[in-house]
Every structure is written in C-alpha cells, then in structure tokens.
Symmetry: C2
C-alpha cells in the first residue's frame, strides 16, 4: 500500500507558477534537467505584473494559486516568480501540504559561491528589491558579502514588447546598471524570471568580468535534489499531449500560447483559463 502510494506520488506532476509568462524560463530549465517530470503551470495573466504590487496582495494571489495547484494533485510547487518568492513563500510553506521551492534562495546560494570580491548585485522588480530578501539569504550564508539591489521596472514591459535586442533596451539597461558598474560588483543576480531573455544586453553592458547568475538553473537543481531525497523522481518518460504538461492562465490564453512557444521548444498545444480568485 505504501509502495503504491509512493509510485502514485512520484508520477504526480510538479506545480509551477508565476505572475505571467516569465516563469517559463524556469520551466525550461526543469524540463531540461528532469525531463521525466510532468509540469502543471499557472500564469496569473489576469493580474500580472506582481513586481509593483504590495506584499499583502501578492501573498493573497500566491495563496489562491497554490490552492489551485493542490487541486491538480501536484507533488511539489515551484514559485517561479521572484516577487512571489520574496513576499509569499515563507507564509505559504506553513499552509500548503506539498513541499515548495522558490527562486530566491537558490539564486542567493549560487551568487555566494560565485563572487570573488564580495560585491554582488541584484536586479529585480521594485517588490523584490524592496523586500531585501536576496541580501537576507546571502547574509545568512556569510556576512562578508555586500549586496546591492537595483529595481528595473521597465525591463519586463520591454521584454514583453519584444525589444530583446534594441537600442532603447540598451539605453535603459545602461541607466539601471550604471550604479552597479560604479560599485564594482563581480556577480549579478538576474532576480526576475523575465531578465534571462535580455541576458546578452545585460552581459554586454556589465562586461565579461561580471558573472550573471540565473536562479532558474539552480532552482531546477534543488528541485531535483528534493525529489530524489523524498523518492519522488518520476522514472517513466512522460507522455506528450493531454497527459503531458498542462498550462493554465487566468486570462488571454492565446497570447500566452504564442509567448510560451517562443520560450519552450515543447509545443504547447493549449492553455486553459482558470479564475484564480475562486481558489
């Protein structure tokens, strides 16, 4: 009986959520590192963005989505949004029945291992920067690292407008990053899941001596470790189609599909609209 239960659990999907499409950069990394796992993704496109809203509101939204993912019988939940990880993860971990992983802690860990001069920059939304969560996690590991945060509120709209390589994005990035260059950071955390999509612009401006940290990679690695430890890794290849990955959004499924298919090689057949406010 308990063996059966284990088998059942291991084949359960992994829940992943974000304010919109950005979390798909994390999904991509999960699919790459643990390709046998089924994903149930939720993008809160009816209430996007999260980055400029308050802790109370983001916690309420995240709670509703986590409850929705529980109804999908997931075996773990990945909070693939820095703002939600910063504001809501600590509260939700106490309430939700399955293990949860955010993107902030893994990103902080890698940055700590990467820096040589002890100066780490974080670029993210206003919410994530205001929460100071990256410096909290980093300083839990070591007090010897100085963390400098910079909110970059225009990056998400620029990415969503498709200006990935564009003089305007260059100019805005130069303004946001000037301060971090002056301080002489050697490690920069891409603290918002949209930012890996303008990674080359950011790298060009920061220069090759600065290492960019994308928390998505480490998040997928920690997820794999967690599933291994609990004997929950799925050892059977997943089926494509209706029995494979599933994508839910709170609004505008067609638009989501187009963006999602541009990020993931996996052809997303459909995305279903769900009202997160009901959960």
């Amino acid at each position: 009986m308990s063996l059966d239960m284990n088998l059942l659990d291991a084949q359960a999907p992994i829940g992943v959520f974000d304010s919109g499409v950005g979390g798909l950069t994390v999904v991509k990394e999960i699919m790459h590192q643990i390709p046998n796992e089924r994903i149930v993704y939720f993008g809160d496109t009816a209430r996007v963005p999260y980055g400029s809203k308050s802790k109370d509101t983001i916690t309420r939204y995240s709670r509703q989505i986590a409850h929705f993912l529980e109804t999908q019988k997931v075996k773990a939940i990945v909070v693939a949004c820095n703002t939600a990880s910063a504001y809501a993860l600590e509260d939700l971990e106490k309430e939700i029945s399955v293990p949860m992983i955010g993107v902030v802690k893994p990103g902080a860990k890698v940055a700590t291992e990467t820096t040589r001069n002890g100066k780490v920059g974080v670029i993210a939304t206003e919410g994530t920067i205001g929460s100071k969560i990256y410096s909290q996690y980093i300083n839990q590991i070591t007090k010897d690292i100085k963390v400098i945060g910079k909110a970059c509120p225009l990056f998400v709209p620029l990415v969503e407008e498709g200006l990935l390589q564009d003089p305007v994005t260059d100019e805005i990035a130069r303004r946001y990053l000037a301060e971090l260059i002056d301080i002489g950071i050697d490690t920069l955390i891409l603290g918002c899941t949209h930012y890996p999509l303008i990674r080359s612009t950011i790298q060009k401006i920061m220069g090759d001596a600065v290492t960019l940290v994308n928390p998505a990679y480490e998040t997928a690695r920690e997820l794999k470790e967690l599933l291994e430890k609990r004997n929950l890794l799925n050892d059977k290849p997943i089926l494509l189609g209706e029995d494979g990955h599933r994508f839910f959004v709170s609004d505008a499924a067609d638009k989501f599909k187009v963006f999602a298919n541009s990020i993931l090689k996996y052809g997303i057949l459909s995305a279903k609209v769900v009202d997160a406010g009901d959960y």
Copy 2:
C-alpha cells in the same frame, strides 16, 4: 418628498474609476469644470494594467468596481479608462442603476468635429485598439472619416517610471507614431488616460499641424450636461477633508497618493484599500 430626493441626489458624489492612476487626468478635468461635485475615485491598482487583458476579464473587473461605487451611493459613474470604456461600458449600462459615461464616445465626437482632412489617428492600449471602438463611434457619426489605430503598450510603463520628457520616450514615440505621420492624419486622439502626461512629447513628434484630442475635457463637459439635464448638479461648494473627495484603491495606497498628488493640485489626504473582488 420628491424635492427632498432631488436635493439628496444632487449632493451625492460622482463615481470615477480607472485601472490605476491614469483616470486622475479625467478627475482633474471634472474638478475644473464642475468644482462643486464630490468625487469617489477607485483605482484598481491590484490588477493594473487593463490594456493588455481580455474583454471578459476587464468586464468582470469593471462590474465589480461599479458595484462598489453603487455602495458609495454615487449619482453617476464615469469610466475614466479607455480599455474599460471600450470593453465593458455597453454591458454595464444595462445592469447599473445610475447613469454611466465612458471616455471613448466623447473623444470620438470631438475628433469628428476637429478633423479637416478626414484622417483621424487613435493611440491607445492593445485592448482599446483591438476593439476598434473609436472607429465604430466615429463612423456612427460619419462614414467620411478614416480612423487609424496604433497600440502603444510602452507608453504607460514609461509614464509610470516618470520618463515624461526623456530621449527614450522620444524614441519609442517616434516609432509608434511614424505610421500615423506617413498616413497624414490631422487629428490624434489620446486614447489612454496616461497619455496626456506625455502630451508635449507627442505634439513635438506629430508637429503643430496635428491637433491632439484629450477625451478628458469632453468627458467632463458631457458629465456636466448630463447632471444639468437630470437636475443633479450640486449647487453647494464641497467641503474638503473627510467629507470631500474620497479615493479608493485595491492595492498600494501610499504609492497611489504620491502619484495622485503630482497630478491633482487638490491635496489627497489618504487613499483607502478595498478588495474589488468582494463586489
């Protein structure tokens, strides 16, 4: 009795709502044209922006807010958001007990009266442009006008980032407006309540021969006319403070206050947070 009722109604406030802060440009115009009127404003800052979301979602949000404003015993509701006016006004007018005015119809009317060469441009959110509502209203008045719409999704984030007069805003505006300049429009509707805040940039790029239409002015004029006709104009000066204008938001009241005070000369003492989803 009916005289008393009329007196009571005339002193009731006017409800105004928007996805966030943009609608305050309409409030400013109402305060200017009918200064005796009390305003109850609702900014849906927990779910902003509306411009990229679907008709269903925007209609649901607008319905909730209209119901909230009904609980505030307003005598009329101004939908001070082009996207909500485009998507939701027609449905809501049938359901809501007080008269409603949107910003689209007044804007369309002025543009029709303004154009000499019969070529009118509209700049707005994706939602408003996709709905083709401006050309519908204009072509109800006359078939002789060609309406050319252009979605400008980066204008709102640029305004909210405070880049009102900035080379980046110039460059983005030049790209969005190039097509309208080529076509030779002589009238341009500012079809989003944020856009009057970058009016000088838009005028500079379009040239002085093009007339910019700000629907806010005409909306306030139509509101005044409506109240006059129904004998609902308030003839007593309003009190300031708690008995004067009232401001509600669904999130981040302090941030709203700062932005609001930069638009309105009237000192906004406080904004209260209300969950629109409850209405």
